[in-house]
Point group: C2
Chain length 413, copies 2
Amino acid sequence: MIAEIVATGDEVLTGGIVDSNSSYIAEKLTEIGVAVGRHVSVGDNARILTQTIQEISQRADLAIVTGGLGPTEDDLSSEAAAAAAGVDTVLHPEAMRSLETFLNRLKRPVSATNRKQAYLPRGADCIVNPVGTAPGFSMSINQCRFFFLPGVPGEMKHMVTVAVLPEILRRIGERQAACMIRDICVFGPGESDVSEQLSGFTERFPEIKLGLQAVFPEIHVKLYLWGKYPDRLKNMADDAIAWVERRIGDHVFSFSGEGMEAVIGRLLKKRRFTVALAESCTGGLIAHRLTSVSGSSDYFNFSGVTYANAAKIEVLGVSAATLRDCGAVHENTAREMAQGARRAGNADLGLATTGIAGPTGGTKNKPVGTVCIGLAAPEAVKGYTFHYPFTDRGKNKAVFTMKALDLLRRELM
Amino acid sequence: MIAEIVATGDEVLTGGIVDSNSSYIAEKLTEIGVAVGRHVSVGDNARILTQTIQEISQRADLAIVTGGLGPTEDDLSSEAAAAAAGVDTVLHPEAMRSLETFLNRLKRPVSATNRKQAYLPRGADCIVNPVGTAPGFSMSINQCRFFFLPGVPGEMKHMVTVAVLPEILRRIGERQAACMIRDICVFGPGESDVSEQLSGFTERFPEIKLGLQAVFPEIHVKLYLWGKYPDRLKNMADDAIAWVERRIGDHVFSFSGEGMEAVIGRLLKKRRFTVALAESCTGGLIAHRLTSVSGSSDYFNFSGVTYANAAKIEVLGVSAATLRDCGAVHENTAREMAQGARRAGNADLGLATTGIAGPTGGTKNKPVGTVCIGLAAPEAVKGYTFHYPFTDRGKNKAVFTMKALDLLRRELM
């Protein structure tokens, strides 16, 4: 059972919008064990769309097409599907009812342009759209069952959930096995290092497909398992995860795709610790990430984003002498900032960053990419210096933030 | 001149990641007047990738393929390109130098797995990658010129800019008309409101293609103009932008796709003002956005991310009586926070947020989605309360942040 996914529309083709519909559909199909062969995006061009539908009808078993069902002249999916199947389009009573029901609810009349949306290829089955004007439809062309859906994400998702996936599940019946996906998150080693550490995986676990994905600055190790018996899949996944952990060690911060901020939230809650931050070069990003977790007010007290030296002195109590003698980017300054954050925020732990995110501001001894991190606990204050090779401000803020959070995670373990 | 864009990788195909590379490339090609015929995504499958390359080589003039150049066994682009062209792969000296130069800068050796990345199809031209390990390459297959680039967005974008677009421009010479894209950024009204305000645009400007794009919480109005004469395009674009501005008014914060943080940075610099923040419900996101702009240390002094009430009192000097009588989420508290930020950060302006981002913590009078914003200037302190309909924490943080920044922008104008 091979599926293909088609996104239509000039906006997708010219890069005006990013096509997130196809990845949504791909994920849903993968979850029910349907293999996706390709995604294709084509513009509002009847000839190319018809040709694409014909090609797919000869090589795939299932296809889901989004977009091109609107009321304008640019909306060509119904005509293209009809042309590919060698039929004409006809006013479909159920599609007309779908339109009328939706527009009645908004107290709006059915206009002539809307009426065009109820013309479907002869023989097609209507897929009712309760959340928009565009009815969808499904039909078989050659060996392939096509589903045509609107491109508006909310409408498409509704129709995928209530109509398309149930019909696909009926069609594949018991023949198909489910897919389990595990997402192991790594921070520290690069993609090629992780790849080398995991060499031999495929020989050891021939039934599991391994995928590596760089989501800067993290590496995600993804395990895909297909099979009929969830218990067996779970056991296999657990074995593989234990094997991966032995290879990569404590660079793994999550075995479930959970973000670093959520992992730290759990650790802080478990240890009943609170944390406060002092951020210079990370500019509030550590606070933003920690506070993205619902319930973070239980353990996150305060961040002092102190860009100006005056703020480092006044809010955090960093000594003017340290700033004068060592400079703002120094382990001693980071240590004092961490202590100051801990004090100002009445917290158990203080975490501080000061560095040079770039692209300008670097010197020979402290190039762009330098970060000093301070970590203050009740019993001790630690200071660290790291150099990253990046000149991009966004990358440096991201990697400095992850490094600081990872040091906090290790402190909490 | 027809181009196609190919994204490779199981992660894209199964929906594990959204393919934003293709839309980036599509936009760049559209800008230089190259028509994009299709986007295709295929998995890490040598047979399908080879077949896709062969198909494209017979119908397109240009193709850009991203992904599959990494060091692992899943990375198959070089082999597939070679197979499609009927050649073998060879160790390419320039690709080897690209790799060595990059790894030397990181003080890392060239491993055997990295070395695999320097094997390119015989006869291919190397595209040096100064920001990652994976060298790219270009080669002609049948009638089509192919460019193979890494899938890591930063590396891909760099190589598109410095190598691919210049080569394409050389190839198309003067034959092609350019495309001008204008990106008008709007905050406030919803997509359907903007759409209604712009009704009549197409009749007034029949040569300009209009696109609306919702990038939460912003709406982008995109104008696409094609033609041979840049001056004429510019005049048409200016007329259209003036027309759009008359309709949408000061909800437009940028006429050039510039982000809100950059717009505010320019306004602060121009007026020689500094700013300090006090963030409760936005949790550092306002500071993170303002400090994402290079040079922001000139005008950004401080943010106090004060989740705990104690921090609001101690760091910002909010009165305990206000917190007791009005609560943390109140205009009076927001006003005092803004004044406190201004004082603690020695800044000309103070901006503060306090609210309920959710998903829990709402009450009948202060439901999830409530935000109070304070804005302190030397002469006066203002307070505002807004209610948004969202229950999602991320959406609320994003919209609260934009609203606060938009109030600051209006104050500065």
